[in-house]
Symmetry: C2
Subunit: 214 residues, 2 copies
């Protein structure tokens, strides 16, 4: 399986790529904005493709072409303004969905945010970000893609525990990024996750079993 990781240079993206190399026989490809970012991935044995979410859909089609699945874990991040949230987290995500649809790449896994699905659960301090994630997720559900939407809680840089809790609506809690990465691999392994959206936090259940029980 050739998996394009949009946001491969981000923290979850990098952990996901490492784990894919360690524990699967898939062929992961990191989308990077500049050729200069390729070194890190070359050393990991991960291929790269240059692409920018501010490009038009037609250009993104060339990037996505030939892959079997897209994992979208890009984010404009906390250091840029809400203008980039609109351009990247919302419009960039939707353009990538359209590019995948146009290239008949059906599998699309989105990393969203806990509670993004309902307005009354949006984090008050991050509301503009939640608006963008909410409308991007909404577009994915309406698309023709075989989607899964993963909504992790507050992200930690701790070591993964291998234990999670998933559900339509779980309480606000945290999760190590490494466990989010492992959950994404399980999502891609289990076709039963197609058409599903879920909150994800640290918990008691084995990752594979928790995802299977969704």
């Amino acid at each position: 399986m050739k998996v394009l990781v949009v946001g491969g240079n981000g923290q979850i993206g990098s952990l996901f790529l490492e784990q894919v190399r360690e524990s699967t026989d898939w062929d992961p490809v990191a989308m990077i904005r500049k050729k200069e970012q390729a070194d890190k991935f070359d050393q990991m044995g991960v291929s790269t493709v240059v692409g920018d979410l501010e490009w038009p859909v037609e250009e993104l089609e060339k990037v996505v072409q030939g892959h079997d699945a897209v994992v979208f874990t890009a984010g404009s991040g906390g250091s840029t303004g809400a203008d980039k949230t609109l351009l990247i987290d919302l419009d960039g995500a939707v353009k990538m969905m359209q590019a995948a649809e146009n290239q008949n790449i059906s599998r699309f896994v989105m990393v969203s945010a806990l509670g993004a699905s309902s307005r009354d659960r949006w984090n008050a301090d991050l509301k503009p970000y939640y608006v963008a994630k909410h409308f991007a997720d909404d577009a994915l559900v309406r698309s023709s893609l075989d989607y899964t939407i993963v909504r992790p809680g507050r992200l930690l840089n701790e070591k993964g525990t291998g234990r999670i809790e998933v559900g339509e609506e779980v309480e606000r809690a945290s999760i190590p990024r490494a466990d989010v990465a492992s959950a994404l691999i399980e999502v891609l392994r289990q076709p039963g996750t197609i058409g599903k959206s879920f909150d994800l936090i640290s918990g008691e259940q084995d990752i594979s079993k928790a995802i299977e029980a969704l």
Copy 2:
């Protein structure tokens, strides 16, 4: 006809309210954020209702209740950041649509922006704003509302000319806000505009006839 004007305190909103008072027997109501803003409207003979697009849908339902139509001409404006663009121009607009749907108020007229419908026509300097308008318009088209989407070009504070050009895609040009206000009245007068979206600039045609020919 009881028309709720969301953004009644804005420039197009105020011109629209004046013209409605002068040339129709409708009962226009301005949505204002604070009671203190009511004076200006009292003097115009326009009723007011307090409402804020950052409120939840349930609260906006109480505001919209009892009206026959909504004209949405609110905008977070150039002086606030893109965080407000996400909260007001996108999510605020969509919440107002949902409030109208829930209260069975079917008529909804949206003031959008020229070219908002296709990415390759977005103004490069205002892209984040266009993302918000695009996704709000898209939500309106998908709603159950009797919508019309009016996409004016660059807005001028000149006197209205009474002459416009409308179309699915017209060249980038300007239009006095007073003519946009007149066009909105014609849209509400003509049920044939339901389900239509159009660009709007200054032109050669009489406003009423141009809208009728859509």
